[in-house]
């Protein structure tokens, strides 16, 4: 009976810890998304160039690789994640500006934004309610990401619109997988650091938004 009590207590502690990680992740994710929207708006208002946007993204990626892993377990991880997401927002500004200047651009941007939000809510809801374990997808997603980046490098030189469209479609599928994988990882205790979880989900959303923007822009542009 005493053992049963200890096991039950340990399980409820684990559930409480998981719920805390989920809550903290979603709070931090929503605030960082808001912050990156503000920096993207600043970049659009200032008519920032693509070159400046690329530099902001390179700095953000360097911080993501080299600074965040060292600070994620301490309070200093919070300003670092805000700096990273803010820089990504600056990098996104010129891209959004490009689409806003297209015919029906604002409608494309808003549809991509709403679509990304709806996909994220749907996939997170699916992972949270079914409580399925998607840890088996880790290798598949990493290989998918590697192949997509390889194809993107090739397309810089070949500049094939059809390949770019295919890359965007695959990115949406892979990012959907990453959202399921990361959410399931939080639920099953694989991910206990809400700052790292936020960074992963933020990147999935950012990539998905850009891919969706490209697909919608390409199909709109064909009319």
């Amino acid at each position: 009976m005493n053992n049963f009590g200890q096991v039950a207590s340990r399980q409820s502690t684990a559930v409480l810890a998981t719920n805390k990680v989920i809550r903290n992740t979603y709070i931090l994710l929503s605030t960082t998304l808001l912050f990156s929207a503000v920096t993207a708006f600043i970049a659009i208002s200032a008519n920032m160039s693509h070159g400046a946007g690329l530099i902001a993204s390179i700095v953000a990626i360097a911080m993501l690789w080299f600074v965040l892993p060292r600070t994620a377990n301490s309070a200093s991880g919070i300003p670092v994640i805000f700096a990273i997401t803010g820089l990504f927002g600056l990098g996104l500004g010129p891209v959004i500006n490009f689409y806003l200047n297209m015919p029906a651009g604002p409608s494309i941007v808003m549809t991509a934004l709403g679509g990304t939000g709806a996909i994220f809510l749907g996939l997170s809801g699916y992972a949270l309610t079914t409580r399925k374990d998607f840890s088996f997808m880790g290798g598949f997603l990493m290989v998918g990401m590697f192949v997509v980046i390889l194809a993107a490098v090739a397309n810089i030189f070949f500049a094939m619109p059809a390949l770019q469209l295919a890359i965007s479609a695959v990115v949406i599928m892979i990012m959907s997988g990453f959202i399921l994988y990361e959410t399931s990882s939080i639920i099953h205790g694989g991910q206990t650091n809400y700052i790292m979880a936020t960074a992963s989900l933020f990147l999935s959303l950012l990539n998905m938004f850009q891919a969706l923007l490209h697909i919608l822009g390409a199909f709109r542009g064909r009319d």
């Binding site: 693509h50 390179i58 996939l123 399925k132 290798g139």
Partner: protein, 60 residues
Amino acid sequence: MDWIKIGSALLLGAMLIFIFPRMRHALKHTPKGTTKDWMGYLLPLLAVIGFVIFLVMMVR
């Protein structure tokens, strides 16, 4: 070729170098999924594909 394209290629190349060891590690340590597990991924994926097609039809 302008410097933005060269910068993008360098950034993506760096990403490949960064991802490669992580990909190998993930391939070695990821548990194998059953058909049922993969169906659990394919179902929401099909829903996402359908939703994206719906969005494309909406903006056209």
